[in-house]
Protein backbone atom coordinates (compact mmCIF):
# COMPACT_ATOMS: atom_id res chain seq x y z
CA UNK A 1 0.00 0.00 0.00
CA UNK A 2 1.17 3.51 -0.77
CA UNK A 3 0.39 6.55 1.36
CA UNK A 4 -2.40 8.78 0.09
CA UNK A 5 -1.43 11.46 2.58
CA UNK A 6 2.15 12.08 3.54
CA UNK A 7 3.21 14.94 5.76
CA UNK A 8 6.75 15.59 6.94
CA UNK A 9 8.07 18.28 9.29
CA UNK A 10 4.98 20.40 8.76
CA UNK A 11 5.02 23.79 10.46
CA UNK A 12 2.32 26.42 10.25
CA UNK A 13 2.05 29.70 12.09
CA UNK A 14 -0.38 32.60 11.94
CA UNK A 15 1.67 35.65 12.79
CA UNK A 16 3.47 34.90 16.04
CA UNK A 17 1.22 31.98 16.90
CA UNK A 18 2.59 28.64 15.84
CA UNK A 19 -0.27 26.20 15.37
CA UNK A 20 1.59 23.16 14.07
CA UNK A 21 5.24 22.37 14.53
CA UNK A 22 7.23 19.58 12.91
CA UNK A 23 4.12 17.47 12.39
CA UNK A 24 4.27 14.15 10.61
CA UNK A 25 1.37 12.09 9.29
CA UNK A 26 0.95 9.17 6.95
CA UNK A 27 -2.41 7.83 5.84
CA UNK A 28 -2.18 4.64 3.83
CA UNK A 29 -4.42 3.74 0.92
CA UNK A 30 -7.70 2.29 2.16
CA UNK A 31 -7.13 3.47 5.70
CA UNK A 32 -9.36 5.63 7.89
CA UNK A 33 -7.43 7.98 10.14
CA UNK A 34 -9.11 9.61 13.12
CA UNK A 35 -7.88 13.04 14.14
CA UNK A 36 -8.64 14.29 17.61
CA UNK A 37 -7.52 17.18 19.76
CA UNK A 38 -8.85 19.85 22.04
CA UNK A 39 -10.46 23.00 20.67
CA UNK A 40 -7.82 25.14 19.02
CA UNK A 41 -5.33 22.29 18.76
CA UNK A 42 -5.02 22.80 14.99
CA UNK A 43 -7.20 20.04 13.50
CA UNK A 44 -9.00 22.30 11.05
CA UNK A 45 -5.73 24.03 10.17
CA UNK A 46 -4.18 20.65 9.38
CA UNK A 47 -7.14 19.71 7.18
CA UNK A 48 -6.99 23.06 5.39
CA UNK A 49 -3.29 22.52 4.75
CA UNK A 50 -4.03 19.08 3.32
CA UNK A 51 -6.75 20.56 1.11
CA UNK A 52 -4.36 23.23 -0.18
CA UNK A 53 -6.44 26.08 1.16
CA UNK A 54 -3.60 27.07 3.47
CA UNK A 55 0.09 27.01 2.64
CA UNK A 56 2.65 25.32 4.88
CA UNK A 57 5.41 27.53 6.27
CA UNK A 58 7.78 24.60 6.39
CA UNK A 59 7.73 20.91 5.57
CA UNK A 60 6.34 18.70 2.85
CA UNK A 61 2.77 17.72 2.11
CA UNK A 62 1.78 15.17 -0.51
CA UNK A 63 -1.87 14.32 -1.05
CA UNK A 64 -2.51 11.59 -3.62
CA UNK A 65 1.10 12.16 -4.64
CA UNK A 66 0.75 15.89 -5.28
CA UNK A 67 1.37 19.11 -3.45
CA UNK A 68 -2.13 20.44 -2.68
CA UNK A 69 -0.98 24.08 -2.63
CA UNK A 70 -0.57 23.93 -6.41
CA UNK A 71 -4.36 24.24 -6.49
CA UNK A 72 -4.73 21.55 -9.08
CA UNK A 73 -8.43 21.25 -9.81
CA UNK A 74 -7.96 17.64 -10.92
CA UNK A 75 -6.59 16.74 -7.47
CA UNK A 76 -9.66 18.21 -5.78
CA UNK A 77 -11.89 16.16 -8.06
CA UNK A 78 -10.45 13.05 -6.39
CA UNK A 79 -11.41 14.28 -2.94
CA UNK A 80 -14.64 14.34 -0.96
CA UNK A 81 -14.79 17.15 1.55
CA UNK A 82 -17.07 17.94 4.47
CA UNK A 83 -16.02 20.83 6.64
CA UNK A 84 -17.54 22.13 9.85
CA UNK A 85 -20.00 24.18 7.75
CA UNK A 86 -22.13 22.61 5.03
CA UNK A 87 -20.98 25.00 2.27
CA UNK A 88 -24.28 24.83 0.37
CA UNK A 89 -25.98 27.70 -1.46
CA UNK A 90 -29.05 28.41 0.55
CA UNK A 91 -31.25 29.79 -2.23
CA UNK A 92 -30.78 26.68 -4.37
CA UNK A 93 -32.56 23.35 -3.99
CA UNK A 94 -30.76 20.14 -3.07
CA UNK A 95 -30.82 19.03 -6.70
CA UNK A 96 -29.50 22.37 -8.02
CA UNK A 97 -26.68 22.26 -5.48
CA UNK A 98 -25.77 18.72 -6.47
CA UNK A 99 -25.91 19.52 -10.20
CA UNK A 100 -23.33 22.26 -9.75
CA UNK A 101 -21.03 20.18 -7.57
CA UNK A 102 -21.31 17.19 -9.93
CA UNK A 103 -20.35 19.40 -12.89
CA UNK A 104 -17.46 20.89 -10.87
CA UNK A 105 -16.20 17.41 -10.07
CA UNK A 106 -16.57 16.30 -13.65
CA UNK A 107 -19.19 13.68 -12.74
CA UNK A 108 -21.96 13.25 -15.32
CA UNK A 109 -25.46 14.09 -14.13
CA UNK A 110 -26.74 10.63 -15.12
CA UNK A 111 -24.05 8.98 -12.94
CA UNK A 112 -24.89 11.39 -10.11
CA UNK A 113 -28.59 10.62 -10.44
CA UNK A 114 -28.04 6.88 -10.27
CA UNK A 115 -25.82 7.36 -7.18
CA UNK A 116 -28.47 9.52 -5.51
CA UNK A 117 -31.23 7.13 -6.53
CA UNK A 118 -29.35 4.22 -4.97
CA UNK A 119 -28.17 5.84 -1.76
CA UNK A 120 -30.37 8.86 -1.05
CA UNK A 121 -33.83 8.06 -2.41
CA UNK A 122 -35.05 6.94 1.02
CA UNK A 123 -33.93 10.09 2.80
CA UNK A 124 -36.09 13.17 3.22
CA UNK A 125 -33.68 15.41 1.32
CA UNK A 126 -34.19 13.52 -1.93
CA UNK A 127 -36.90 15.07 -4.12
CA UNK A 128 -37.19 17.94 -1.66
CA UNK A 129 -37.93 20.99 -3.80
CA UNK A 130 -37.46 23.56 -1.05
CA UNK A 131 -34.46 25.87 -1.03
CA UNK A 132 -31.71 24.42 1.12
CA UNK A 133 -31.90 27.43 3.47
CA UNK A 134 -35.20 26.02 4.74
CA UNK A 135 -33.62 22.65 5.60
CA UNK A 136 -32.78 21.68 9.16
CA UNK A 137 -29.15 21.56 10.21
CA UNK A 138 -29.13 17.77 10.04
CA UNK A 139 -30.63 17.80 6.56
CA UNK A 140 -28.02 20.28 5.40
CA UNK A 141 -25.29 18.05 6.78
CA UNK A 142 -26.79 15.14 4.85
CA UNK A 143 -26.64 17.25 1.68
CA UNK A 144 -22.98 17.95 2.42
CA UNK A 145 -22.33 14.24 2.83
CA UNK A 146 -24.20 13.49 -0.39
CA UNK A 147 -21.96 16.03 -2.15
CA UNK A 148 -18.79 14.51 -0.66
CA UNK A 149 -19.56 11.03 -1.98
CA UNK A 150 -20.49 12.26 -5.49
CA UNK A 151 -18.36 10.36 -7.99
CA UNK A 152 -16.89 8.14 -5.24
CA UNK A 153 -13.58 9.98 -4.74
CA UNK A 154 -10.37 8.25 -3.62
CA UNK A 155 -9.83 10.33 -0.51
CA UNK A 156 -12.20 11.96 1.97
CA UNK A 157 -11.56 14.76 4.43
CA UNK A 158 -14.26 15.03 7.05
CA UNK A 159 -14.30 17.68 9.74
CA UNK A 160 -17.08 16.92 12.23
CA UNK A 161 -19.13 14.94 9.69
CA UNK A 162 -21.69 13.57 12.12
CA UNK A 163 -22.73 16.83 13.74
CA UNK A 164 -26.52 17.17 13.83
CA UNK A 165 -27.17 13.77 12.23
CA UNK A 166 -30.01 11.77 13.74
CA UNK A 167 -29.73 8.02 14.37
CA UNK A 168 -30.99 7.04 10.91
CA UNK A 169 -28.84 9.59 9.13
CA UNK A 170 -25.80 8.45 11.09
CA UNK A 171 -26.41 4.81 10.15
CA UNK A 172 -26.81 5.91 6.56
CA UNK A 173 -23.53 7.80 6.76
CA UNK A 174 -21.88 4.65 8.11
CA UNK A 175 -23.18 2.62 5.18
CA UNK A 176 -21.79 5.20 2.74
CA UNK A 177 -18.38 5.08 4.40
CA UNK A 178 -18.42 1.28 4.20
CA UNK A 179 -19.38 1.42 0.52
CA UNK A 180 -16.54 3.86 -0.16
CA UNK A 181 -14.08 1.73 1.77
CA UNK A 182 -15.04 -1.29 -0.31
CA UNK A 183 -13.96 0.79 -3.30
CA UNK A 184 -10.59 1.33 -1.63
CA UNK A 185 -11.13 4.91 -0.45
CA UNK A 186 -9.16 6.47 2.38
CA UNK A 187 -10.47 8.82 5.06
CA UNK A 188 -9.21 11.46 7.40
CA UNK A 189 -11.89 12.17 9.97
CA UNK A 190 -11.64 14.86 12.57
CA UNK A 191 -14.26 14.85 15.29
CA UNK A 192 -14.95 15.63 18.91
CA UNK A 193 -17.59 12.93 18.84
CA UNK A 194 -15.54 9.99 19.99
CA UNK A 195 -18.21 7.50 18.90
CA UNK A 196 -17.61 8.62 15.34
CA UNK A 197 -13.89 7.99 15.73
CA UNK A 198 -14.66 4.57 17.24
CA UNK A 199 -16.93 3.66 14.38
CA UNK A 200 -14.71 4.69 11.50
CA UNK A 201 -11.05 5.04 12.37
CA UNK A 202 -8.39 2.39 11.97
CA UNK A 203 -5.82 4.63 13.57
CA UNK A 204 -6.07 7.66 15.80
CA UNK A 205 -3.76 10.61 16.17
CA UNK A 206 -4.07 13.46 18.63
CA UNK A 207 -2.91 17.00 18.05
CA UNK A 208 -1.32 18.16 21.22
CA UNK A 209 1.13 20.98 21.86
CA UNK A 210 1.42 21.69 18.11
CA UNK A 211 2.40 18.12 17.28
CA UNK A 212 0.56 15.06 16.08
CA UNK A 213 0.91 12.10 18.38
CA UNK A 214 -0.25 8.69 17.29
CA UNK A 215 -2.46 7.24 20.02
CA UNK A 216 -3.64 3.84 18.93
CA UNK A 217 -4.39 1.41 16.16
CA UNK A 218 -7.61 -0.54 16.09
CA UNK A 219 -5.77 -3.88 16.10
CA UNK A 220 -4.06 -3.01 19.38
CA UNK A 221 -7.14 -1.89 21.19
CA UNK A 222 -8.42 -5.30 22.26
CA UNK A 223 -5.26 -6.10 24.14
CA UNK A 224 -4.84 -2.73 25.75
CA UNK A 225 -8.17 -1.54 27.06
CA UNK A 226 -10.07 -3.16 29.89
CA UNK A 227 -13.12 -2.43 31.93
CA UNK A 228 -13.82 -3.41 35.53
CA UNK A 229 -17.36 -3.21 36.83
CA UNK A 230 -17.43 -2.38 40.54
CA UNK A 231 -18.02 0.62 42.80
CA UNK A 232 -16.14 3.91 42.49
CA UNK A 233 -13.91 3.47 45.54
CA UNK A 234 -10.62 5.30 44.75
CA UNK A 235 -8.68 2.48 46.41
CA UNK A 236 -9.40 0.32 43.38
CA UNK A 237 -7.86 2.97 41.14
CA UNK A 238 -4.68 2.85 43.23
CA UNK A 239 -4.47 -0.94 42.93
CA UNK A 240 -5.14 -0.83 39.17
CA UNK A 241 -2.48 1.85 38.72
CA UNK A 242 0.03 -0.15 40.74
CA UNK A 243 -0.63 -3.30 38.75
CA UNK A 244 -1.20 -1.99 35.20
CA UNK A 245 0.11 1.58 35.22
CA UNK A 246 -1.66 4.39 33.36
CA UNK A 247 -4.53 6.47 34.64
CA UNK A 248 -7.67 4.45 35.38
CA UNK A 249 -10.90 6.38 35.01
CA UNK A 250 -14.36 5.70 36.42
CA UNK A 251 -16.72 6.08 33.47
CA UNK A 252 -20.41 5.14 33.42
CA UNK A 253 -20.23 2.68 36.32
CA UNK A 254 -16.96 0.99 35.44
CA UNK A 255 -13.23 1.52 35.80
CA UNK A 256 -11.54 1.79 32.42
CA UNK A 257 -7.83 1.27 32.19
CA UNK A 258 -5.04 0.17 29.89
CA UNK A 259 -2.98 -2.94 30.23
CA UNK A 260 -0.10 -3.73 27.92
CA UNK A 261 0.52 -7.16 29.54
CA UNK A 262 -3.03 -8.32 30.02
CA UNK A 263 -2.17 -12.05 30.15
CA UNK A 264 -0.17 -11.62 33.34
CA UNK A 265 -1.57 -8.39 34.77
CA UNK A 266 -5.31 -9.09 34.75
CA UNK A 267 -5.33 -12.35 36.82
CA UNK A 268 -3.02 -10.75 39.41
CA UNK A 269 -5.16 -7.61 39.45
CA UNK A 270 -8.34 -9.61 40.08
CA UNK A 271 -6.66 -11.45 42.97
CA UNK A 272 -5.42 -8.22 44.52
CA UNK A 273 -8.77 -6.48 44.18
CA UNK A 274 -10.68 -9.45 45.60
CA UNK A 275 -8.17 -9.64 48.45
CA UNK A 276 -8.78 -5.95 49.20
CA UNK A 277 -12.53 -6.54 49.45
CA UNK A 278 -13.58 -5.28 46.01
CA UNK A 279 -16.89 -6.71 44.80
CA UNK A 280 -16.02 -7.37 41.16
CA UNK A 281 -19.06 -7.76 38.93
CA UNK A 282 -17.26 -8.07 35.60
CA UNK A 283 -13.79 -7.71 34.05
CA UNK A 284 -13.66 -7.54 30.25
CA UNK A 285 -11.52 -6.18 27.45
CA UNK A 286 -12.85 -3.20 25.56
CA UNK A 287 -12.42 -4.25 22.00
CA UNK A 288 -12.99 -1.20 19.88
CA UNK A 289 -13.12 1.87 22.01
CA UNK A 290 -10.64 4.46 20.90
CA UNK A 291 -12.67 6.82 23.00
CA UNK A 292 -11.27 5.42 26.25
CA UNK A 293 -7.70 5.91 25.06
CA UNK A 294 -8.54 9.40 23.90
CA UNK A 295 -10.30 10.32 27.13
CA UNK A 296 -7.37 8.93 29.15
CA UNK A 297 -4.99 10.95 27.01
CA UNK A 298 -7.04 14.11 27.59
CA UNK A 299 -7.00 13.45 31.33
CA UNK A 300 -3.26 12.80 31.30
CA UNK A 301 -2.71 16.05 29.40
CA UNK A 302 -4.85 17.97 31.87
CA UNK A 303 -2.99 16.43 34.81
CA UNK A 304 0.36 17.29 33.25
CA UNK A 305 -0.68 20.85 32.62
CA UNK A 306 -1.93 21.18 36.17
CA UNK A 307 1.33 19.75 37.46
CA UNK A 308 3.29 22.19 35.28
CA UNK A 309 1.19 25.05 36.59
CA UNK A 310 1.89 24.06 40.21
CA UNK A 311 5.63 23.68 39.74
Amino acid sequence: MSPVVSVKNLTKAFGRHTILEECALVVEEGEAYGLVGLNGAGKTTLIRLLLGVLRADKGEIAVLGENPWRHDALLHRRMGVVLDHDGLWGNLTFEQNMKIFAAAKGVSWSASLSYMEEYWSRTNIYNNRKAVKFFSRGQRMQCALCRAFLGWPDLYFFDEPAVALDVDAYEHFKSLVMAARKRGASFLISSHQLDTIDDFADRVGMLREKRLIELARKAEQGNRLWSLETDDNPRWATIIREQCGGAPAFVEGEWQFESTHADTDIPVLIKRLAGAGCAIRKVAPIVRDFSVTIRNEYRRNAAEELHRGVT
Partner: protein, 222 residues
Protein backbone atom coordinates in the same frame (compact mmCIF):
# COMPACT_ATOMS: atom_id res chain seq x y z
CA UNK B 1 -14.43 28.66 -19.94
CA UNK B 2 -17.01 25.98 -19.13
CA UNK B 3 -15.98 26.21 -15.46
CA UNK B 4 -16.47 30.01 -15.55
CA UNK B 5 -19.93 29.51 -17.03
CA UNK B 6 -20.74 26.97 -14.32
CA UNK B 7 -19.87 29.51 -11.62
CA UNK B 8 -21.84 32.17 -13.52
CA UNK B 9 -24.84 29.84 -13.68
CA UNK B 10 -24.59 29.11 -9.97
CA UNK B 11 -24.50 32.82 -9.14
CA UNK B 12 -27.45 33.49 -11.45
CA UNK B 13 -29.54 30.72 -9.86
CA UNK B 14 -28.65 31.98 -6.42
CA UNK B 15 -29.72 35.50 -7.44
CA UNK B 16 -33.00 34.68 -9.17
CA UNK B 17 -34.06 32.60 -6.20
CA UNK B 18 -33.40 35.49 -3.79
CA UNK B 19 -36.19 37.09 -1.82
CA UNK B 20 -38.63 39.00 -4.04
CA UNK B 21 -38.01 42.22 -2.10
CA UNK B 22 -34.53 42.37 -3.66
CA UNK B 23 -36.02 42.77 -7.15
CA UNK B 24 -38.36 45.55 -5.99
CA UNK B 25 -35.42 47.40 -4.48
CA UNK B 26 -33.56 47.21 -7.81
CA UNK B 27 -36.66 48.37 -9.68
CA UNK B 28 -37.06 51.41 -7.42
CA UNK B 29 -33.36 52.12 -7.71
CA UNK B 30 -33.50 52.05 -11.53
CA UNK B 31 -36.51 54.38 -11.69
CA UNK B 32 -35.20 56.73 -8.99
CA UNK B 33 -31.72 57.00 -10.44
CA UNK B 34 -33.15 57.26 -13.97
CA UNK B 35 -35.13 60.33 -12.89
CA UNK B 36 -32.01 61.80 -11.36
CA UNK B 37 -30.04 61.27 -14.58
CA UNK B 38 -32.88 62.60 -16.70
CA UNK B 39 -33.05 65.89 -14.82
CA UNK B 40 -29.26 66.26 -14.63
CA UNK B 41 -28.72 65.60 -18.32
CA UNK B 42 -30.52 68.71 -19.51
CA UNK B 43 -27.57 71.04 -19.68
CA UNK B 44 -24.97 68.43 -20.65
CA UNK B 45 -23.07 69.13 -17.44
CA UNK B 46 -20.76 66.67 -15.69
CA UNK B 47 -23.48 65.95 -13.14
CA UNK B 48 -25.00 63.03 -15.00
CA UNK B 49 -21.79 61.08 -15.70
CA UNK B 50 -20.79 61.46 -12.05
CA UNK B 51 -24.12 60.16 -10.83
CA UNK B 52 -23.92 57.31 -13.30
CA UNK B 53 -20.45 56.32 -12.20
CA UNK B 54 -21.48 56.34 -8.56
CA UNK B 55 -24.52 54.29 -9.46
CA UNK B 56 -22.11 51.67 -10.78
CA UNK B 57 -20.22 51.82 -7.47
CA UNK B 58 -23.39 51.05 -5.53
CA UNK B 59 -24.63 48.26 -7.78
CA UNK B 60 -21.25 46.54 -8.29
CA UNK B 61 -20.43 46.68 -4.58
CA UNK B 62 -23.86 45.33 -3.75
CA UNK B 63 -23.58 42.35 -6.08
CA UNK B 64 -19.99 41.81 -4.97
CA UNK B 65 -21.14 41.75 -1.37
CA UNK B 66 -23.34 38.76 -2.18
CA UNK B 67 -20.99 37.00 -4.54
CA UNK B 68 -17.65 37.46 -2.82
CA UNK B 69 -18.29 38.35 0.81
CA UNK B 70 -21.41 36.38 1.77
CA UNK B 71 -19.89 33.25 0.32
CA UNK B 72 -16.78 33.70 2.43
CA UNK B 73 -18.92 34.27 5.51
CA UNK B 74 -21.09 31.20 4.96
CA UNK B 75 -18.08 29.00 4.26
CA UNK B 76 -19.34 27.93 0.85
CA UNK B 77 -16.34 29.58 -0.83
CA UNK B 78 -13.99 27.18 0.95
CA UNK B 79 -16.03 24.26 -0.35
CA UNK B 80 -16.10 25.80 -3.83
CA UNK B 81 -12.30 26.12 -3.76
CA UNK B 82 -12.03 22.37 -3.11
CA UNK B 83 -14.82 21.31 -5.45
CA UNK B 84 -12.69 20.67 -8.51
CA UNK B 85 -13.00 24.12 -10.08
CA UNK B 86 -9.88 26.16 -10.74
CA UNK B 87 -9.47 29.33 -8.70
CA UNK B 88 -9.23 31.39 -11.87
CA UNK B 89 -12.58 30.00 -13.06
CA UNK B 90 -14.19 30.79 -9.70
CA UNK B 91 -12.87 34.37 -9.75
CA UNK B 92 -13.78 35.07 -13.39
CA UNK B 93 -17.16 33.37 -13.11
CA UNK B 94 -18.05 35.55 -10.14
CA UNK B 95 -16.68 38.71 -11.75
CA UNK B 96 -18.57 37.97 -14.96
CA UNK B 97 -21.78 37.70 -12.97
CA UNK B 98 -21.19 41.02 -11.17
CA UNK B 99 -20.26 42.77 -14.43
CA UNK B 100 -23.26 41.41 -16.35
CA UNK B 101 -25.70 42.25 -13.58
CA UNK B 102 -24.27 45.73 -12.96
CA UNK B 103 -24.31 46.45 -16.70
CA UNK B 104 -27.87 45.20 -17.02
CA UNK B 105 -29.04 47.38 -14.15
CA UNK B 106 -27.06 50.35 -15.53
CA UNK B 107 -28.41 50.00 -19.06
CA UNK B 108 -31.91 49.76 -17.64
CA UNK B 109 -31.20 52.94 -15.69
CA UNK B 110 -29.92 54.80 -18.79
CA UNK B 111 -32.96 53.66 -20.78
CA UNK B 112 -35.23 54.75 -17.97
CA UNK B 113 -33.45 58.13 -17.92
CA UNK B 114 -33.84 58.50 -21.67
CA UNK B 115 -37.57 57.73 -21.54
CA UNK B 116 -38.17 59.94 -18.53
CA UNK B 117 -36.20 62.77 -20.13
CA UNK B 118 -38.58 62.88 -23.10
CA UNK B 119 -41.48 63.33 -20.73
CA UNK B 120 -39.78 65.92 -18.57
CA UNK B 121 -38.02 68.24 -21.04
CA UNK B 122 -37.36 66.96 -24.58
CA UNK B 123 -33.79 67.93 -25.56
CA UNK B 124 -32.21 67.71 -29.01
CA UNK B 125 -32.11 64.11 -30.19
CA UNK B 126 -28.42 64.15 -31.26
CA UNK B 127 -27.31 65.41 -27.88
CA UNK B 128 -29.20 62.66 -26.12
CA UNK B 129 -27.63 59.90 -28.21
CA UNK B 130 -24.14 61.31 -27.93
CA UNK B 131 -24.44 61.39 -24.19
CA UNK B 132 -25.98 57.97 -23.98
CA UNK B 133 -23.10 56.25 -25.81
CA UNK B 134 -20.58 58.10 -23.66
CA UNK B 135 -22.56 57.06 -20.65
CA UNK B 136 -22.58 53.43 -21.68
CA UNK B 137 -18.80 53.44 -22.17
CA UNK B 138 -18.27 55.29 -18.89
CA UNK B 139 -20.62 53.01 -17.03
CA UNK B 140 -18.96 49.91 -18.50
CA UNK B 141 -15.50 51.14 -17.51
CA UNK B 142 -16.65 51.99 -14.01
CA UNK B 143 -18.39 48.61 -13.70
CA UNK B 144 -15.27 46.72 -14.69
CA UNK B 145 -13.13 48.75 -12.27
CA UNK B 146 -15.61 48.43 -9.41
CA UNK B 147 -16.03 44.69 -9.93
CA UNK B 148 -12.34 43.88 -10.05
CA UNK B 149 -11.54 46.14 -7.10
CA UNK B 150 -14.38 44.55 -5.12
CA UNK B 151 -13.01 41.08 -5.93
CA UNK B 152 -9.60 42.20 -4.77
CA UNK B 153 -10.62 44.16 -1.67
CA UNK B 154 -13.13 41.53 -0.56
CA UNK B 155 -10.05 39.40 0.14
CA UNK B 156 -7.70 42.12 1.31
CA UNK B 157 -9.97 43.99 3.67
CA UNK B 158 -10.85 42.36 6.97
CA UNK B 159 -14.12 44.29 6.98
CA UNK B 160 -15.86 44.08 3.60
CA UNK B 161 -18.31 46.81 4.58
CA UNK B 162 -15.58 49.12 3.35
CA UNK B 163 -16.00 47.93 -0.27
CA UNK B 164 -18.33 50.79 -1.15
CA UNK B 165 -15.96 53.36 0.35
CA UNK B 166 -12.92 51.97 -1.41
CA UNK B 167 -14.74 52.08 -4.74
CA UNK B 168 -16.02 55.60 -4.13
CA UNK B 169 -12.46 56.69 -3.32
CA UNK B 170 -11.07 55.02 -6.46
CA UNK B 171 -13.71 56.34 -8.84
CA UNK B 172 -13.71 59.73 -7.11
CA UNK B 173 -9.94 60.11 -7.64
CA UNK B 174 -10.23 59.26 -11.35
CA UNK B 175 -13.17 61.62 -11.88
CA UNK B 176 -11.42 64.40 -9.92
CA UNK B 177 -8.36 63.94 -12.11
CA UNK B 178 -10.52 64.18 -15.21
CA UNK B 179 -12.20 67.38 -14.00
CA UNK B 180 -8.83 68.94 -13.11
CA UNK B 181 -7.36 68.11 -16.52
CA UNK B 182 -10.42 69.18 -18.45
CA UNK B 183 -10.18 72.66 -16.92
CA UNK B 184 -7.21 73.42 -19.18
CA UNK B 185 -8.43 71.59 -22.29
CA UNK B 186 -11.65 69.73 -23.09
CA UNK B 187 -11.35 65.95 -22.75
CA UNK B 188 -13.70 63.21 -23.85
CA UNK B 189 -15.42 61.11 -21.23
CA UNK B 190 -14.28 58.08 -23.24
CA UNK B 191 -10.82 58.78 -21.81
CA UNK B 192 -12.20 58.30 -18.29
CA UNK B 193 -13.78 55.04 -19.39
CA UNK B 194 -10.43 53.92 -20.79
CA UNK B 195 -8.52 54.84 -17.61
CA UNK B 196 -11.08 53.03 -15.46
CA UNK B 197 -10.80 49.93 -17.63
CA UNK B 198 -7.01 50.04 -17.42
CA UNK B 199 -7.05 50.33 -13.62
CA UNK B 200 -9.67 47.56 -13.65
CA UNK B 201 -7.25 45.24 -15.46
CA UNK B 202 -4.65 45.98 -12.79
CA UNK B 203 -7.14 45.08 -10.06
CA UNK B 204 -8.16 41.94 -11.93
CA UNK B 205 -4.53 40.81 -11.80
CA UNK B 206 -4.34 41.67 -8.09
CA UNK B 207 -7.63 39.86 -7.45
CA UNK B 208 -6.24 36.76 -9.14
CA UNK B 209 -3.22 36.90 -6.83
CA UNK B 210 -5.47 37.44 -3.81
CA UNK B 211 -7.56 34.41 -4.81
CA UNK B 212 -4.43 32.29 -5.05
CA UNK B 213 -3.32 33.32 -1.56
CA UNK B 214 -4.47 31.84 1.72
CA UNK B 215 -6.10 35.15 2.69
CA UNK B 216 -9.09 33.96 0.72
CA UNK B 217 -10.36 32.01 3.73
CA UNK B 218 -9.51 34.58 6.40
CA UNK B 219 -12.47 35.28 8.67
CA UNK B 220 -14.70 38.16 7.67
CA UNK B 221 -15.18 40.79 10.37
CA UNK B 222 -18.34 42.86 10.63
Amino acid sequence: MSQCLLVLRKEWLNFVRSDKSVFFIYLFLIIGWGMLLATMNRGGSLGSPLWLVFFSVIIAANFSGTVFVSERMSGSLEILLTSGLSRGAILWGKMMFVIIMTLAVGVACILAASVLQRFMAPPEIASVFYFQWTYVALYAGATFLNTTSCACFSVWLPNPRLLHFVNIALVGCIMAGYVALSLSRPLSLFLVAFVMSFVGILFAWLARRAFESERIIKPVIF
